[in-house]
C-alpha cells in the first residue's frame, strides 16, 4: 500500500510516496527507509524497480519513502535548478517528512547510482552514525559527468535516434534535460571517496562489480570507524546503463530487487 502526497517547504514542494504495510500495524520501534533515485534519465529508467523495492520493504513493516528531487518528476521546480546543496536540502526534507508521518525514530538510507553523491554529501555532515545502503553507486563525480556527456553525444550522433537529420542541441541540454553547468561543476569536484561518514556508521554496498573507486571509498570509511560490507549481485542481470540503444529502456533487475528487499528487512543476513 502506498500513499502519495506533496511535502516540503512552500515554493519547494516535493512529491513523495509512503509505502507501508497494508492494514497491519507497524512494527514497534521500526526504522524508516528513505530511497533515493538516480539523477536524470537513470531516475526514469529505474523508477519502477525502486518502487517495487519500496513496496516490498514497506510491506514488511518498515515505512519507506520514495520521492522526486526538486526539479524532477512531479516535484516543483525546473531541471535547471538542480544543485548539490538543493539535493541535500531535499534529503533533509524527506527525512523529516518520513519521521513525521511514520513515527520512525531511526532512518536507513538507500541510494541508487548517482544518488550516492548527494546522499553521502548530506550524511557525512551529520554528527550521529548513519545506516546507508549504496546500490551500484557512482562515487567518481568527474567520471560520472564525463559518462553523461559521452552518452549525450552518442544519443545525438550514434544511437539511431535521428534517422533523417542532425541536430544542434541547446547549450545546456544533457541527456534530455536542461542541466546547469554549475551543477555539473559541483558534481565533477565532488569527492565522495574522501568524505567521511560519522564514526560508528554502517555502509552496505550492493554492487555488480567492485572497482578501485569503491575499494578506496570502503578503505577510507573503515579508517574513519565506519563498518563497510559489500554484497555482489548476480552479474547476469547487470543493467546496460551505458548502452546507447537501451537508453530509453526500463531497468528492472528482479533478483537484485528481491535480494535487497530480503536483506533490508532482515529476512536474509547481509
Amino acid at each position: 500500500m502506498s500513499a502519495p502526497f506533496f511535502f516540503g517547504e512552500a515554493g519547494r514542494s516535493l512529491f513523495g510516496l509512503l509505502h507501508e504495510t497494508d492494514g497491519r500495524p507497524r512494527i514497534e520501534g521500526a526504522h524508516g527507509l528513505v530511497l533515493c533515485a538516480p539523477l536524470l534519465q537513470e531516475g526514469t529508467r529505474s523508477h519502477r524497480a525502486l518502487w517495487s523495492l519500496a513496496q516490498a520493504v514497506g510491506a514488511q513493516g518498515i515505512p519507506t519513502l520514495t520521492f522526486d528531487w526538486y526539479g524532477t518528476g512531479d516535484s516543483a521546480g525546473e531541471d535547471l535548478e538542480l544543485s548539490l546543496s538543493g539535493l541535500q536540502s531535499d534529503l533533509d526534507a524527506a527525512a523529516k517528512e518520513l519521521t513525521r508521518r511514520s513515527g520512525a525514530t531511526t532512518l536507513q538510507w538507500l541510494a541508487l547510482r548517482s544518488a550516492a553523491i548527494p546522499m553521502l554529501a548530506y550524511l557525512s555532515s551529520r554528527a550521529a552514525p548513519v545506516d546507508v545502503v549504496l546500490w551500484d553507486p557512482q562515487l567518481d563525480g568527474r567520471r560520472l559527468v564525463d559518462q553523461w556527456r559521452e552518452q549525450h553525444r552518442q544519443q545525438l550522433l550514434e544511437s539511431g535516434r535521428y534517422v533523417h537529420a542532425r541536430h544542434e542541441p541547446d547549450a545546456d541540454d544533457l541527456l534530455g534535460f536542461r542541466v546547469d553547468e554549475a551543477f555539473l561543476a559541483q558534481l565533477r569536484h565532488a569527492a565522495p571517496t574522501r568524505w567521511r561518514l560519522p564514526a560508528g556508521s554502517r555502509v552496505r554496498m550492493a554492487v555488480w562489480e567492485m572497482d578501485e573507486t569503491l575499494d578506496r571509498f570502503a578503505q577510507a570509511q573503515r579508517e574513519a570507524g565506519v563498518a563497510v560490507e559489500a554484497v555482489l549481485l548476480d552479474e547476469g542481470e547487470r543493467p546496460e546503463w551505458d548502452v546507447p540503444a537501451r537508453f530509453g529502456a526500463q531497468v528492472f533487475p528482479r533478483r537484485a530487487v528481491a535480494q535487497l528487499a530480503q536483506r533490508m528487512t532482515a529476512q536474509v543476513p547481509w
Binding site: 502506498s2 500513499a3 502519495p4 502526497f5 506533496f6 512529491f15 510516496l17 534519465q41 526514469t44 523508477h47 519502477r48 518502487w51 522526486d68 524532477t72 518528476g73 512531479d74 516543483a76 531541471d79 544519443q155 535516434r161 535521428y162 534517422v163 533523417h164 537529420a165 541536430h167 542541441p169 541547446d170 541540454d173 534530455g176 534535460f177 536542461r178 530509453g248 526500463q250
Partner: protein, 286 residues
C-alpha cells in the same frame, strides 16, 4: 489542418517565455490503486479536461518530464490536466483486474477524478506510442471523449510506404545484409509492442469518431519511420475520415520518438497548446 514547422518554432519561442504561472497541483490515489497528479488552472477552468496516458512503460511524468511541462502549460491556458499511471506502471499498484476492459476502466476512473476535482465534463486523451494506442481505443467508444492527441499512434503501412521504405535501402548493401540477418534471427515485430486494431476496425473506429465530431491530432515523428513515412499514408491506411476537417496531422520526420531535445519538446507543446485552444478554446469550454 496543419501548421508548418517554421510557424511552430515561432510558437515555441512564445511558449518558452509564457506563463507566469504557479501550477496548482494535487496528488491522488484513485480507482484500483492508481496514482496521478491533477494540475488545475488558477483562473477560469475549461470544462474540457486532458488526460495524459503512460508512454510505454515510462512513468506518468513522461519521457524527459514531457507530461509535467505539458500539464503545466495547458493548465496555464485554462485546461485542467490529469497525468496518471495505469496499473502496473510508475507509482500505481499492480493490476487488480485481468480482464480486457481494464484500460477503459482505468481511464474512466481518471475521468471521474478529474471531473470531481475540476468540473471537467468532456475529455481529451493524449498519449505517445502505446499511450496513443490506448487513447485511440477509448476515444472510439467513450461518449465523453471529445478529442485525442496521438503521438506516433496508429497508422498502417501501405504499398507507397514500402516503396519509400525499401527502395533507398536496396541501394545500401550493408542495410540489405542486416535485413537478411534480421530475418534469420527474427526478434519481436512492431505488432508485438503495439495494440492496434485490425485495419478494417481502425477505419471504422476513426470514421465513427469523425461522425461523432471527435477532434483528433495525429503527430508522427521520424521515430515511426519503420511504419510511417509520408503524410498521405494516414488517409491511405485509415480511410477518408482521416481527411476530415477535425483531423489534424503533423509529420515531423526529423524528430525522434521521445522528443529527446528540449527544442523539439517546445515545438510539440506549442502545437498541442495551439490545437487545444483552437479546438476547445473559451467558446467551446461549456
Amino acid at each position: 489542418m496543419n501548421l508548418q514547422i517554421d510557424n511552430l518554432r515561432a510558437l515555441a519561442e512564445v511558449a518558452d517565455v509564457t506563463p507566469e504561472f504557479a501550477p496548482q497541483e494535487s496528488v491522488h490515489r484513485f480507482g484500483d490503486g492508481l496514482v496521478g497528479v491533477v494540475t488545475r488552472p488558477s483562473r477560469a477552468c475549461s470544462k474540457v479536461g486532458v488526460l495524459l496516458l503512460n508512454a510505454g512503460l515510462t512513468r506518468h511524468t513522461g519521457p524527459f518530464r514531457l507530461h509535467v511541462d505539458l500539464a503545466r502549460t495547458l493548465a496555464a491556458r485554462g485546461f485542467p490536466v490529469l497525468r496518471f499511471d495505469q496499473a502496473g506502471l510508475g507509482d500505481s499498484d499492480a493490476p487488480v483486474r485481468t480482464t480486457g476492459d481494464r484500460r477503459q476502466h482505468e481511464i474512466e476512473a481518471a475521468m471521474r477524478l478529474l471531473a470531481e476535482q475540476t468540473g471537467a465534463m468532456r475529455f481529451v486523451l493524449c498519449g505517445l506510442c502505446s499511450g496513443a494506442d490506448d487513447a485511440f481505443h477509448v476515444a472510439a467508444v467513450h461518449p465523453r471523449v471529445s478529442g485525442a492527441i496521438l503521438l506516433d499512434g496508429v497508422a498502417f503501412p501501405t504499398p507507397g510506404f514500402w516503396l519509400r521504405h525499401v527502395l533507398p535501402r536496396l541501394l545500401n548493401a550493408g542495410k540489405v545484409l542486416r535485413y537478411i540477418a534480421s530475418r534469420r534471427n527474427a526478434g519481436p515485430a512492431l505488432a508485438d509492442f503495439r495494440d492496434w486494431p485490425a485495419k478494417a476496425d481502425a477505419r471504422r473506429m476513426l470514421s465513427g469518431m469523425v461522425d461523432r465530431g471527435t477532434r483528433l491530432l495525429f503527430v508522427f515523428t521520424g521515430g515511426a519511420y519503420h511504419y510511417f513515412n509520408h503524410r498521405d499514408q494516414l488517409a491511405a491506411g485509415l480511410g477518408r475520415a482521416a481527411r476530415a476537417p477535425q483531423v489534424a496531422l503533423e509529420y515531423w520526420r526529423e524528430y525522434d520518438h521521445t522528443f529527446y531535445l528540449r527544442k523539439h519538446r517546445r515545438v510539440l507543446i506549442a502545437r498541442i497548446e495551439a490545437w487545444m485552444r483552437s479546438e476547445f478554446g473559451p467558446s467551446e469550454s461549456n
